[in-house]
């Protein structure tokens, strides 16, 4: 198993190098002049040139690239011009927020989608199958900013059940000592249940918004995959040997049906992590998505490069995890590794 992980990591090196080169080039060819943006609208051409040389932007591209990579090796992603902070610090502060939101959304979606998909497959053609189809279609056809705003309108404005959609914690609450960066876990570690409740209340609406959106792929994949497995010969054998439905569906069918579902989960997760900008905007969530978009608008190279690189590495790590999970589920994969 370790050997497989090692090999998989090796094969990812070229793609990471590729990502570094492409993001570097892309940020350079995108329209917009960082120096002009920071000098402000009233700045003189002289001032702009000065800022440009201060930022090293007057150097030829290869030179810029070498200095970028040199810094990168030292773990320095550069400094964000908009926030004035090192990009690593910014990302470290914001990534847990995105991760917490995405994970919560995904877990919520799984909790609904997996049973729904299984039931829809087992009782194919019944009302629950139709319900599954309606829920999935509705979820995916509503844009997240719309669902988000709707939820805020109903649960905050009309009913007043949830707190104001302003970030991860109430402004008056104090953050727990940072361990994982995930507030729900950190508050529990600090035994600060008051703050835990607060963080949970803040999290629930954006997480539901994400969950509704990601219900569709997970439900549909679970259903399709379960249907295929339920028609398999070994399920017939299991039935013919008198195993209970629970055993047939749980142990025999579901574990086999898990493989494509796990792949889908990985894809949905990585998609959500980078693409939940809209949700972050609606709920004023201090995540990496909104950070990257702001940087992009400001032609702020360093954060964009840092963001893309982080996402690429996360994606690689996620795929590795999925591969390992595959090996746990399916002994045949273990052999090939």
């Amino acid at each position: 198993m370790l050997r497989m992980i090692g090999q998989r990591l090796m094969t990812t090196i070229p793609s990471v190098i590729g990502v570094i080169i492409v993001t570097f080039l892309l940020t350079r060819v995108l329209p917009g002049d960082t120096a002009a943006y920071f000098a402000g609208p009233a700045a003189s051409p002289q001032a702009i040139i000065e800022i440009r040389s201060k930022l090293g932007l007057d150097q030829p591209l290869p030179v810029q690239f070498v200095s970028y990579v040199t810094a990168l090796v030292k773990g320095d992603l550069g400094t964000s011009l908009t926030t004035g902070q090192p990009v690593t610090a910014d990302l470290a502060a914001r990534l847990p927020a995105s991760a917490e939101l995405t994970l919560a959304g995904l877990l919520l979606a799984m909790a609904v989608a997996l049973p729904l998909g299984i039931l829809a497959a087992v009782k194919q053609g019944s009302w629950i199958d139709h319900l599954c189809r309606v829920v999935a279609t509705a979820g995916v056809s509503l844009p997240v900013f719309f669902t988000g705003l709707l939820l805020v309108y109903v649960f905050y404005f009309l009913l007043g059940w949830s707190p104001a959609p302003l970030g991860r914690l109430d402004v008056f609450a104090s953050e727990p000592p940072r361990v994982t960066g995930l507030l729900l876990i950190d508050t529990l570690l600090a035994r600060d249940f008051e703050t835990f409740r607060g963080a949970f209340a803040q999290l629930i609406l954006p997480a539901v918004t994400l969950a509704i959106f990601s219900l569709a792929p997970i439900t549909r994949m679970t259903r399709a995959s379960m249907l295929a497995v339920l028609g398999a010969d070994f399920v017939r054998t299991a039935r013919a040997s008198g195993l209970t439905n629970r055993k047939v569906i749980g142990t025999y069918a579901f574990r086999n049906a898990m493989l494509p579902v796990v792949t889908t989960l990985g894809m949905v997760f990585s998609f959500l992590l980078g693409a939940n900008v809209l949700v972050e905007k609606v709920f004023a969530w201090p995540g990496v998505g909104s950070y990257a978009v702001e940087a992009l608008i400001a032609s702020d190279y360093a954060p964009i490069q840092g963001f893309v690189l982080t996402m690429a590495i996360l994606y690689v790590a996620l795929n590795l995890m999925i591969d390992v999970l595959y090996g746990v589920i399916d002994p045949r994969v273990r052999l090939e590794g």
Binding site: F234, R236, T237, A240, S241, G242, N256, R332
Partner: protein, 569 residues
Amino acid sequence: MTAVPLLEIRNLTVEFATRRGAVQAVKSIDVSVAKGETVAIVGESGSGKSVTSYAVVRILDRAGRVAEGTISFSGVDLVAADEAQMRDLRGREISMIFQNPRAALNPIRKVGKQIEDVLLQHVQATRATAKEKAVEALTKVKIARPEERYDAYPFELSGGMCQRVVIALALACQPQLLIADEPTTGLDVTTQKAVMDLIVELTRERGMSTILITHDLGLAAAYCDKVVVMEKGKVVETALASEIFRNPQHPYTRRLMQATPRLGTSLADLLLDAPQTVPAEARTAVTEPKPAAEAGPLMQVENLVKEYPRAATGALLAKLMGKAEPEKPAFRAVDGISFSIARGETLGLVGESGCGKSTTSMMVTRLIDPSGGKIIFDGTDIGAIPAKQFAASPHRRRIQMVFQDPTDSLNPRFTAERAIADPIMRMGAVKGRDALRARCEDLARLVGLPVELIDRFPHQLSGGQKARVGIARAIALDPDLVILDEPTAALDVSVQAVVLNLLEELKGRLGMSYLFVSHDLNVVRLLCDRVIVMKTGSIVEEGTAEEVLGDPKAEYTRELLTAIPHPLL
């Protein structure tokens, strides 16, 4: 025989709901099985034999239901029984063994665990004793090193071994009735014999009743007391095994027996009333017979070798760390074989799965490259032309192939005409739509495919018709050598009889040579002039069909021959 049968099926009708309304798959059949009796249900595909057994165990799929009739099993009405009652019966009182044993086992669960599941379900073992009992069940089916196999996954076991596990699973709870649904289809003859002997031994030992569902009359005769013949959902004949083969009553039974290849028959004997395989109008030869044969064999294969490298595990990492392991010797699928095919000859290539016969046929067809040796075809070493370029070589036209599965080897989106026209459009001299159409129609007539069917898609054709399309496609370019890779293995015996006769007739008329790859020695005996027997990549015996199959010299050939169940003793 006891007065009260163990299983009594009365007036059973099974319906399937389809888009075009209810279809009766089984129509008012009566079958009874006494205690300790072995009953065969014999029939061709679509006869309803499997549906009957599924109805007994009540594992019909959603669309199917028992419309009428009763099934009683030691006094319990199985049609009326509730689901919980059925669940207790399944596996404990009535067990099933299925075709395709590897698929019948959960691919990602250890086989021992799967046996345990059944034992625990029927309270035949506690968690503490389950493992011990599962190993015991594996021992009973004569699996070597059962403690080790307990931890094996199905993909780590051979087909025969998987079937033993399925049998262990079925017999773990000592049921009274075993239903074996084509338990040995797809297994090699020697494995088939071992598996059937095992089933018979274990069921006799325990005084169990057995229902054997099969399309193979030989198997039914060799292993059963009573035979029930089914045709299109109806039971047409029920008789003692010893009676039915000596004196079949129903015409269908007679036809079925006639079509089964066996000792002392000729190809034409397989067809009861010998309908003409090729309609008269097509007999005015569409294709000119080949010019008189030149001297020398058509194909000469010398010292042919195919090696596959062993899967290199972790080679990349090892190399990077500077710890490259010593290279494992490559696996030799074909180990230096030589043979020749004369003009107009049919050469049989026989052996069990894994013996290298398919690899050999693929190399000869030039679909894969040999690792060594020569394939001299009509004076040219075509083995030297890489397989990737062979499609563009003029020799491609002269060597064609008929594949094993008539369904899978046709493009589902091509009509029969398009499938037949495909090689002509690529390599043939026929130009223009009308000429092409005319040629396809000629070919269809030649292989006995009704011309009005050639605009149909494969799923609209029967198995036999699809086989004819495959043959028409292979002969479309007027080849000199046709490689037939188990062309009838997926067909019912009556269809097989017709197709074999067609092949024989076409060979004579078109002046072709055949390389006939098969595991069915009875078919080989009928069709082939000479036979090669292969085992683990080498030729163990070679000679005329009569010599090899009548008076085998090699131990292995004898083993193969004795493993065939004979229906008419």
